[in-house]
């Protein structure tokens, strides 16, 4: 798979071709050596130990693995790690600064937008992509933008409220 496994193997994982890739993740520059078949989600979770991005299905439906690649929302389970070469990735761990939560994170807590928390990182990254492009969305636009992310616990109503809360705070910050 990748270089991150201590394979004390005998003769070998044989010639498993690996490729060297360079990318930025949450502002940090990284180099990795990965098998082509490694999914980006697994590079993030196991290679980089950033376990905030989750995997919940195997048919590209649930969106728990959503990250931003060059600012665009992408389901990281459906992108190969090698495809990240030369690109910029942002995960949930990159939302907060050293001292402050991102308004989306605050909004989800304020409006009870999560229960088990498993879909939450993906949901927030998809929401961030929405708010980056559309700082003043309607409820309908929020629901449409999040329709690629499944939640089983909340029924979405509070998730929508959380995103609108964050949108308002971001607009206020921008205005100030």
């Amino acid at each position: 798979m990748t270089m991150v496994y201590d394979d004390v193997g005998d003769e070998a994982t044989g010639d498993v071709p690996v490729q060297r890739i360079r990318f930025t993740i949450n502002g940090e520059k990284k180099v990795a050596e990965v098998e082509p078949r490694l999914l980006l989600a697994h590079l993030i979770r196991h290679g980089l130990r950033l376990t905030g991005t989750h995997t919940g299905c195997d048919t590209t439906n649930c969106g728990a693995c959503t990250v931003l690649v060059d600012g665009t929302a992408v389901k990281s389970c459906t992108m190969l790690a090698v495809q990240a070469d030369g690109h910029d990735i942002q995960t949930v761990e990159g939302l907060a600064t050293a001292s402050e939560l991102h308004p989306l994170q605050e909004g989800f807590r304020e409006e009870h937008g999560l229960q088990c928390g498993f879909c939450t990182p993906g949901m927030m990254m998809a929401a961030k992509a929405l708010l980056d492009a559309n700082p003043d969305p309607t409820e309908e636009e929020v629901r449409w933008a999040l329709s690629g992310n499944l939640c089983r616990c909340t029924g979405y109503q509070n998730i929508v409220k959380s995103v609108l809360w964050a949108a308002q705070k971001l607009r206020a910050q921008a205005g100030a």
């Binding site: 394979d7 003769e11 130990r49 649930c62 928390g117 879909c119 939450t120 927030m124 089983r152 616990c153």
Partner: protein
């Protein structure tokens, strides 16, 4: 003047306190099972059967062993030499861990591979060659009992056919008599289809056997860690004190994470054999096709009615399709769970229920998915029967329910099936709901719309449900009584740590249990850290499912807090140099009755417990409580939905959804509302799109997220929640009743009744869930009932 602390300010009962667990989840710092990495950890993947029923002629794993990075390949044969090919279930049956003689459902576990990483493990699974000899397949109860049906459980002695149990409850004679005297008999037959809880996080475990210490630690997705510890001790024949089950953060449970799955057992054996941690995380397809599903029950329901609308009697027969093994987690006394809680909110004098359970070539299960032990089925059947009965009488839906409700002055009330309900304001809840939906006006609108060819519909669903299983006289799982527990340690500085035998999977226990402590002791909720899930530290409990946590574990939290308070009172008397009888309590403080300004805070008592005890008193301020609930709690709800059905396409949209929930005292209103909305969404999903079925060969349709549909934010309706009606539970220490499953229990019938109402006049009595557009269209067009029972229809 009172110097009590402000309860809402300190996060006591009724405070919509922001959640403690959010702090890590919003940062992506949750600790779910797949996030955990142990040194030397290996990975396990499972090979599953592609066939629903087949003899295994041979398994050749030689190529799998040859793949570099593979450490172990387990087959049923190897498990059998260690007596682990079969394991006991929570319903006194046995279940295959890895198939030996034959496979009995599509997706059944046949072998597993442990390798350096899951990619290699998957490569190796693909290299295993299994030779199957197909056998005839059974996909519904009718086929199970037909002449000549193959016996699925030919592994069992004394199992000549596919019947698991026949069970009955109630008064057959009295019911028959009542039916004989009825003016109208209303009959309804339907199928509550198989559904799957499908939390987003799949099941998984990391088994870590340490040869040096002889201790087995298993991190795993489980809602009931202590039950698992006991089960593992039995199955793996390891001593219970050398087993530690740790349930970390769980990404949703809904009953899916209660049973013991073969994957857990295999990972444990693999770890013991390899002496390294072994991680097994299933994929969604494996989860959907093999883990504990829900429902799959057929109903024949009859109601004996008087012309003035009174229900004289109810008769129900249910056929439950349990899959290949009887593995439900439910109170052992009740084969079909609490199905007989049906009609508990109605003043029905007599009733009779017969229930049969059968095997089939499908994954095992039945009790799961926010069902409160089959109460979802009970209440769905009830409210569908009630709707048809009202229609048969030509009576208004709301009126029919209102005249049959148990009245406020009739409590305690013995239900026709023998439950004792103790409290409720059913009529008031209905009133609130009807007002909110503007009932009379809607009926008018509906009639006008019909003239213009638009089909509007309104559906009502009302129910009370038995939560908080349950009292030790009647309830046990595998013989273990269904109490729960709380352990509270108050430290020197008045901060505390609380552990319970429950296990939250999103219900917010870390937030709400601290609120109960705050309510009882006046310690700010933020000063109480809550832990659950580690069997080495948590007091013994039966876990979280069936909405039992607030009723049972929550009660234990209140009781242990009171034990602490009782000791603190003695310390206070000592500090204040008065006798205990002279000491009064207000929130956070003891004071001298005759001199209220003289008092000590609870924190000061805590200091004293370690530094200034009266003679003869044990130091410390820590205690444990085990709570055996005296009765079930009985929350009540009214759900009303309005819809519009497109007459050309059968597509229906929700216009409004009103929910009136009376769950007694609400610890944290924000969290309670979250639970209701989650449950309503699952109700909507079941009624609208969620669907698992099987074709004639037992192939599962709905074994991945392309086929098994969960609604997104786009389809999911908005909800109007009402909390005006509060009837505290008379026996619960803080008057709470529990809420986790209410909306999933009562919700589906509201949606279905609404669509059926829109179709009134067509003569259609039943469309099985999910009410997919093609089913609604077929019903409207041909004016006939539409069944969804397997095998799924096809051109062949």
């Amino acid at each position: 003047m009172s110097q009590a602390v402000d309860e809402i300010k300190i996060g006591g009962l009724g405070a919509s306190r922001k959640r403690v667990e959010d702090n890590r989840f919003i940062r992506g710092k949750g600790n779910y099972t797949d996030d955990i990495v142990l040194p030397g950890m290996l990975h396990m993947e499972i090979l599953r059967s592609p066939l629903a029923h087949a003899r295994i002629k041979s398994i050749d794993a030689s190529k799998a062993w040859d793949i570099p990075g593979v450490h172990l390949v387990l087959t049923g044969e190897m498990m059998a030499t260690r007596n682990l090919a079969w394991m006991p279930t929570l319903s006194y049956d046995t279940q295959a861990v890895l198939a030996t003689d034959k496979v009995r459902f599509q997706g059944q576990e046949v072998a597993c591979v442990i390798a350096d990483d899951p990619y290699i493990a998957k490569d190796a699974c693909e290299a295993i060659v299994v030779d199957y000899e197909p056998l005839p397949v059974i996909v519904n109860p009718k086929q199970a009992v037909a002449d000549g049906a193959p016996v699925i459980r030919d592994d069992k002695e004394n199992q000549p056919d596919n019947v698991i149990y026949d069970w009955e409850v109630g008064d057959r004679e009295g019911t028959d008599q009542a039916f004989a005297s009825a003016d109208v008999i209303s009959i309804l037959e339907l199928h509550y289809p198989r559904s799957h809880p499908s939390p987003i996080e799949c099941c998984g475990s990391i088994a870590d056997f340490n040869r040096a210490t002889s201790k087995l630690t298993v991190y795993m997705t489980t809602q009931a860690p202590h039950i698992i510890r006991a089960a593992v001790a039995m199955v793996a024949e390891l001593p219970e004190h050398m087993i530690r089950i740790v349930s970390p953060d769980i990404g949703g449970g809904f009953g899916n994470k209660v049973p013991v799955y073969p994957g857990y057992v295999c990972s444990i054996l693999a770890s013991i054999l390899l002496e390294r941690p072994v991680k097994w995380i299933e994929d969604k397809s494996g989860n959907l096709i093999s883990t504990g599903f829900a429902r799959d029950v057929y109903l024949k329901g009859e109601m004996a009615l008087r012309n003035d609308g009174k229900i004289l009697a109810v008769r129900m027969h249910t056929d439950a399709d349990h899959g290949a093994f009887f593995s439900d987690a439910q109170p052992s006394k009740f084969k079909i769970g609490l199905m007989h809680s049906a009609f508990s909110a109605y003043d029905v004098p007599v009733a009779h229920l017969t229930a049969r359970g059968t095997y089939s070539n499908k994954a095992p299960g039945g009790v799961a998915y926010r069902c409160s032990f089959r109460v979802t089925e009970a209440m769905f059947f009830q409210e569908r029967m009630v709707q048809e009965a009202a229609n048969d009488l030509g009576m208004d839906q709301a009126k029919f329910r209102a005249i049959n409700f148990v009245r406020d002055d009739q409590f305690p009330h013995r239900t026709p099936f023998g439950f004792l309900t103790d409290s409720g304001q059913y009529a008031k809840c209905l009133e609130v709901g009807l007002k909110a939906i503007d009932y009379d006006n809607f009926r008018h609108e509906q009639a006008e719309a019909r003239k213009r060819g638009r089909l509007l519909g309104l559906g009502i669903s009302t129910m009370t449900e038995p939560l908080g299983a349950g009292n030790s006289r009647e309830y046990d799982i595998l013989g273990i009584k269904m109490f729960d527990s709380a352990d509270l340690k108050v430290h020197l500085t008045g901060k505390a740590i609380l552990r319970t035998g429950a296990k939250t999977q999103g219900q917010g226990h870390e937030t709400t249990w601290a609120q109960i402590v705050a309510h009882e002791l006046g310690i700010p909720a933020e000063d109480v850290v809550v832990e659950e899930g580690d069997t080495d530290t948590a007091p013994f409990g039966m876990g979280t499912y069936a909405s039992r946590s607030t009723p049972v574990a929550g009660a234990a939290v209140a009781m242990v807090s009171r034990k602490i308070r009782a000791k603190a009172r003695k310390l206070a008397a000592h500090l204040l140099e008065v006798s205990e009888e002279d000491v009064e309590w207000e929130l956070g403080r003891f004071y001298v009755r005759s001199a209220p300004d003289r008092g000590v805070t609870i924190q000061e008592c805590a200091v004293a417990a370690y530094s200034n005890m009266p003679d003869g008193m044990e130091p410390g301020l820590e205690n444990t409580a085990y709570y055996d609930p005296p009765n079930l709690t009985w929350p009540f709800a009214v759900y009303i939905v309005t819809v519009e059905v497109d007459p050309q396409t059968g597509v229906w949209d929700v216009l409004r959804m009103v929910a009136v929930d009376d769950c007694g005292v609400r610890i944290n209103p924000m969290i309670v509302e979250g639970q209701i909305m989650g449950g309503l969404t699952e109700a909507y999903a079941m009624s609208n799109m969620q669907f698992i079925t099987f074709d004639a060969d037992g192939n599962c349709v709905g074994a991945n997220y392309m086929d098994y549909l969960l609604p997104t934010a786009w389809e999911t309706p908005g909800y109007e929640l009402h909390s005006e009606v509060v009837t505290p539970c008379p026996h619960h220490p803080i008057g709470a009743k529990g809420i986790g499953e209410c909306a999933a229990v009562g919700g589906p019938a509201a949606f279905v009744n609404a669509v059926m109402d829109a179709l009134s006049g067509t003569g259609v009595r039943n469309i099985d869930m999910p009410l997919l557009p093609d089913r609604v269209w077929e019903a409207m067009t041909y004016r006939r009932d539409v069944s969804g029972a397997p095998p799924v229809r096809s051109d062949d």
